[in-house]
């Protein structure tokens, strides 16, 4: 090494020293420990999403991680030029930097989402945790065009009456005035006054064994909306000319009542026809002796949510925003949409998790749960999926599918009445994976090597002993 170089190095080292200090290192280590400990308590009280938003994914966490990297780089520079005895130290510290670099790549360019595919269905959208507001506008009620798409983080920056989130529209503006993190929604139906809404019907189906009370609300006039309760289907909307080979009741809205047609399975002709008003009861004539009661009939109806706010999340809760448009209030649930009318235009507002097209369809051909013998306790579950080029493939716990840069893992499944109806996959793309593995390997090597440098402690022990002796004498 030349003289000039070494003097330059020593100058750099001089200014570098405070950054490489062990005091700073201990401070950083303890800070990370404290911050992440708080994070785990937040997660226990709320959920993983809240912990991420409030602790792990924040400026102070990034700052401390940044400081860590600076400190690590500085301490390596401080020991430069490295010698053989530095090997363990250098490996352990470089490993951490590489690992963090990998984590950064994942954070910046990675994809981490979930995908629900019903059995026999196909999906090509991954849902991520980012939330977007999207507004579609239509002037004729038929053709919509997207007029706004914006990422929002109401969890961290909730709108309020005083500081609403304003979306300009052609006529007036949509104001988001409230955000609730954890609500349990229940549907309510109100008379819709503007004539652009469909009809609403609350009915009761009853016999000694069955008691079903449900709302049916048409999205638009003349739309068909249905309730399937197993042995029969109830439809609100126009009846078809011919029976479709099932037990069905069609109720067609008219101004002050409903015209009904009943079809029976294996029968060419309608079983029964008639007209009912609110409060009327009729017997559809099925073999199972049901009575059909019209509890409420609204020629124009709109749906809204009754919101019950909770302190903490449960698997039943979701998030909701409150919007004001044209002087009227509306709650919109996460991943739900609302239609807003003026005399000249219609706005369709959706608030939901971002959906990303993975570029190929994933079809779920079969889903299987196996149980521990003689119990309902799940032992394992697996999905038989189909993707282009590859054909059929089994994805099970711990056996993911790697395809087109994505890793598709079996995460969980959804059940309805004890039967699985859909499989839930976690879909990841991790560009930092290689660096993370490399960093991990290097750290592990370094840590294990550190074991052999036992002289360190004994040196210190001797030093401290000398000091102690000095104090005591």
């Amino acid at each position: 090494m030349k003289k000039a170089d070494s003097s330059l190095l020593s100058t750099i080292k001089k200014y570098n020293r405070p950054l490489a200090s062990l005091k700073l290192a201990v401070f950083i280590i303890l800070s990370i420990a404290v911050i992440t400990a708080v994070g785990t308590f937040v997660e226990a009280k709320y959920d993983a999403y809240a912990a991420r938003k409030l602790v792990y994914d924040t400026w102070f966490m990034y700052t401390i991680m940044g400081l860590l990297v600076i400190n690590l780089l500085a301490v390596m520079l401080d020991r430069f030029p490295w010698r053989k005895r530095h090997a363990a130290f250098v490996l352990a510290h470089i490993g951490i930097i590489i690992l963090l670099a990998g984590a950064y790549l994942t954070m910046e360019f990675g994809l981490d989402g979930s995908m629900r595919v019903g059995i026999g269905e196909t999906n090509n959208f991954v849902q991520t945790s980012e939330t977007d507001l999207v507004v579609y506008t239509s002037f004729d009620g038929d053709r919509y065009s997207k007029t706004l798409e914006q990422e929002v983080d109401f969890f961290r920056n909730p709108p309020s009456e005083k500081k609403p989130y304003v979306i300009p529209a052609y006529e007036g503006e949509i104001r988001i005035v409230d955000y609730k993190k954890y609500v349990i929604p229940s549907k309510k139906v109100l008379p819709g006054d503007d004539g652009k809404n469909g009809a609403g019907l609350r009915f009761q189906l009853q016999n000694p064994n069955v008691n079903v009370i449900e709302w049916l609300v048409q999205k638009k006039p003349n739309n068909l909306t249905s309730h399937n309760f197993g042995p029969a289907q109830i439809h609100l909307g126009p009846a078809p000319e011919k029976p479709r080979g099932a037990n069905e009741i069609f109720l067609t809205p008219e101004k002050d009542g409903l015209r009904y047609v009943v079809f029976q399975k294996d029968s060419e002709k309608p079983l029964k026809k008639g007209f009912v008003k609110e409060g009327d009861v009729f017997d559809p004539g099925f073999k199972m002796a049901l009575s059909f009661r019209v509890l409420r009939y609204l020629p124009t109806a709109k749906e809204d949510w009754d919101i019950q706010t909770l302190e903490r999340p449960t698997p039943m809760t979701t998030a909701a925003i409150k919007i004001i448009f044209d002087g009227k209030e509306n709650w919109v649930l996460l991943n739900d949409m609302v239609k807003l009318f003026t005399t000249n235009s219609v706005y369709l507002l959706t608030y939901g998790n971002r959906r990303i097209d993975i570029g190929f369809p994933l079809k779920l051909n079969k889903f299987q749960v196996s149980h521990y013998q003689g119990t309902m306790r799940a032992m394992a579950y697996e999905s038989l999926v189909q993707v282009p080029d590859l054909g059929e493939h089994v994805i099970s716990m711990n056996e993911p599918l790697k395809y087109k840069g994505l890793t598709i893992y079996q995460a969980s499944f959804q059940e309805d009445n004890g039967q699985p109806v859909a499989s839930v996959f976690s879909v990841n793309h991790d560009p930092g994976r290689f660096l993370k593995y490399l960093g991990s390997l290097i750290i592990s090597l370094g840590t294990i090597l550190l074991m052999w440098f036992k002289h360190l402690d004994f040196k210190i022990a001797r030093k401290s002993q000398k000091n102690d002796d000095g104090v005591n004498s």
């Binding site: 201990v26 997660e43 521990y372 716990m397 711990n398 990841n428 750290i443 550190l450 074991m451």
Partner: protein, 545 residues
């Protein structure tokens, strides 16, 4: 591994088939909890659920549980239901100074049904259950278990012709009913003879013959499903022999001898200490191998198993360090901690469930899981050893820092080495966990509380080691931090599952014992503060002198 297995097999095969007459019942295969287990395990577990212990008034679970089914009405006014939660006792209008209640007292009125509805409402909204509701849930379970056993629906002892759900006593066909009646008659005779303290060999033999006849008939139903003899033998042997109990007895003996070696300087006893320690260690290992053989998996998937594993690891590390440094003290600490761990595991079955349970789906079929859990928990063993050493160190500081300089230095070296070993296992263990998580659900790191607390524990020890390196922490500081930092391990190991109860590692969740663990941690922190103050006082008097 294969060799150990063979040795272990030979060991319990050498035990005569049935230790005494009337024991055949213990070996009756029962389908329960998703696996086939001996009736011995089944009845122990059931009695444990209802009564909180595996014996009732000195009588074995195998007897008690069978009589629940044979004459439930005789049990109506017996106090066999354990209720510990005060809030539950209050809302049931029961005396709080009582712990055991009869079915009559608990379930006859409307009160129980009302509380049950309350619990159901909580379950419907899927809210997390607090300790009160968990206790209520236990009560409901106790009721369920007793009712189902009494009705003959719980005991499934006949393999089905098709499928894999075994047939319960209540659903058996006429021929099997008959065989069963035979053996219950023999059973009643036998326990009658036992109660009358008369000669039981004849009734015992009779019972064994009837049980064998029943098993033969059951086997005829579906021979393929009725083939568990060796595993069942192993499990009954495991239940009876209780290898972990013998292990801590020997650890404790080793500890006592080591104390003599250390305090009375009787070096000659060292060999005896090593023998006791070795025997304890072999039995500890043997218990593991048995559990592994019975369940076909590494025994590190619940709290009980990790506590036993950590005790094993502590003794191992202590022995290795002892051989290197010959401080004696390290072995004292190691046997102390090993005994402590195994005793805790043995005496708190409500918290540390010792039963053999099948795995959750996510834990199956993966060797990364076993490797990462074993690596992380073995690091806890090293930290536990440091903690045990520090406890001894604190005593020396109380007795006089000057006088025991040599001992203290030995202790600090031991602590430092233990911490290093711990870090050398914990860091790669966490990384292996990351690899498994990446392999298993596609993310290397997700700030899940269990993994985060393992990281926090690692950071805690890294901070200590760095501070030591920089000279911020001297000998006393090492002793103090070895105690304090172990609280982080307790949090990562026990607290995440039993206090936080959050995150993806939910298969390890449990309840109970929080007050004892907190008291343990708090007592140690107070001890550290006390020793700190005493030491300060001594130092100031020294300097003023």
């Amino acid at each position: 591994m294969k060799n150990i297995l063979i040795v272990a097999m030979a060991l319990f095969m050498a035990v005569p088939a049935f230790a005494k007459d009337g024991d055949a019942l213990k070996y009756l295969p029962v389908q329960d909890g998703g696996r086939i287990k001996p009736y011995d395990s089944f009845s122990r577990e059931m009695l444990e659920i209802v009564y909180g212990k595996t014996k009732y008034e000195g009588r074995a679970a195998t007897e008690i549980v069978m009589t629940w089914m044979l004459s439930p009405q005789a049990w109506q006014d017996k106090k066999i239901f354990e209720v510990r939660n005060h809030q539950v006792l209050t809302s049931m209008n029961l005396p709080k100074d009582q712990r055991y209640f009869s079915g009559e007292e608990l379930f006859a009125g409307d009160r129980f049904n009302l509380l049950r509805q309350e619990l159901q409402a909580k379950r419907d909204t899927k809210e997390k259950l607090n300790p009160y509701f968990q206790a209520l849930q236990r009560l409901e379970n106790q009721y369920f278990v007793f009712q189902e056993i009494a009705a003959g629906r719980m005991l499934k002892i006949v393999p089905p012709k098709e499928g894999d759900a075994w047939i319960s006593v209540a659903d058996m066909d006429a021929t099997m009913q008959e065989k069963f009646m035979d053996f219950t008659k023999a059973f009643v005779n036998h326990i009658g003879a036992v109660a009358a303290a008369s000669d039981t060999s004849a009734t015992g033999k009779e019972l064994d013959a009837k049980v064998a006849a029943f098993e033969e008939a059951a086997k005829a139903n579906n021979p393929a499903l009725y083939d568990h003899a060796t595993k069942i033998k192993a499990e009954v042997h495991y239940n009876n022999f209780h290898p972990f109990r013998w292990a801590y007895i020997f650890y404790f003996l080793a500890f006592t001898v080591l104390l003599l070696v250390w305090t009375l300087k009787k070096e000659s006893l060292m060999k005896i200490a090593w023998v006791f320690l070795g025997l304890g260690f072999v039995l500890n290992t043997y218990g593991f191998v048995l559990r592994m053989y019975i369940m076909d998996r590494a025994p590190v998937t619940n709290m009980y198993e990790t506590v036993v594993w950590v005790a094993w690891g502590t003794v191992l590390f202590a022995a290795i360090l002892e051989i290197i440094y010959k401080f004696r003290l390290i072995l004292v600490a190691g046997t102390l901690v090993g005994t402590f761990g195994l005793v805790i595991a043995d005496f708190a079955p409500a918290v540390l469930d010792p039963t053999l349970q099948p795995l959750e789906p996510v834990l199956r079929s993966n060797y990364w899981l076993t490797i990462h859990v074993m690596t992380i928990t073995i690091s806890y063993a090293a930290f536990f050893l440091a903690f045990g050493l520090a406890d001894i160190g604190l005593i020396y500081y109380l007795r006089g820092e000057e006088k025991f300089q040599k001992e203290i230095r030995a202790i600090v070296s031991g602590i430092y080495r233990s911490m290093q070993i711990g870090v050398a296992f914990l860091a790669p263990g966490i990384i292996l966990g990351g690899i498994w998580a990446d392999y298993s659900w596609g993310r290397f790191w997700g700030w899940d509380p269990k993994e985060t607390w393992a990281l926090i524990a690692l950071l805690g020890y890294l901070a200590v080691l760095h501070a030591r390196y920089a000279g911020f922490i001297k000998n006393f500081g090492m002793v103090v931090t070895a105690v304090i930092t172990f609280s982080l391990v307790i949090m990562a190991w026990y607290g995440v599952n039993f206090v936080l109860g959050a995150g993806l590692h939910s298969y390890g969740f449990g309840a109970g014992g929080v007050e004892y663990v907190s008291a343990f941690v708090a007592a140690h922190i107070l001890l550290v503060i006390y020793v700190g103050i005493v030491r300060r006082g001594k130092q100031t008097t020294q300097t003023t002198n």
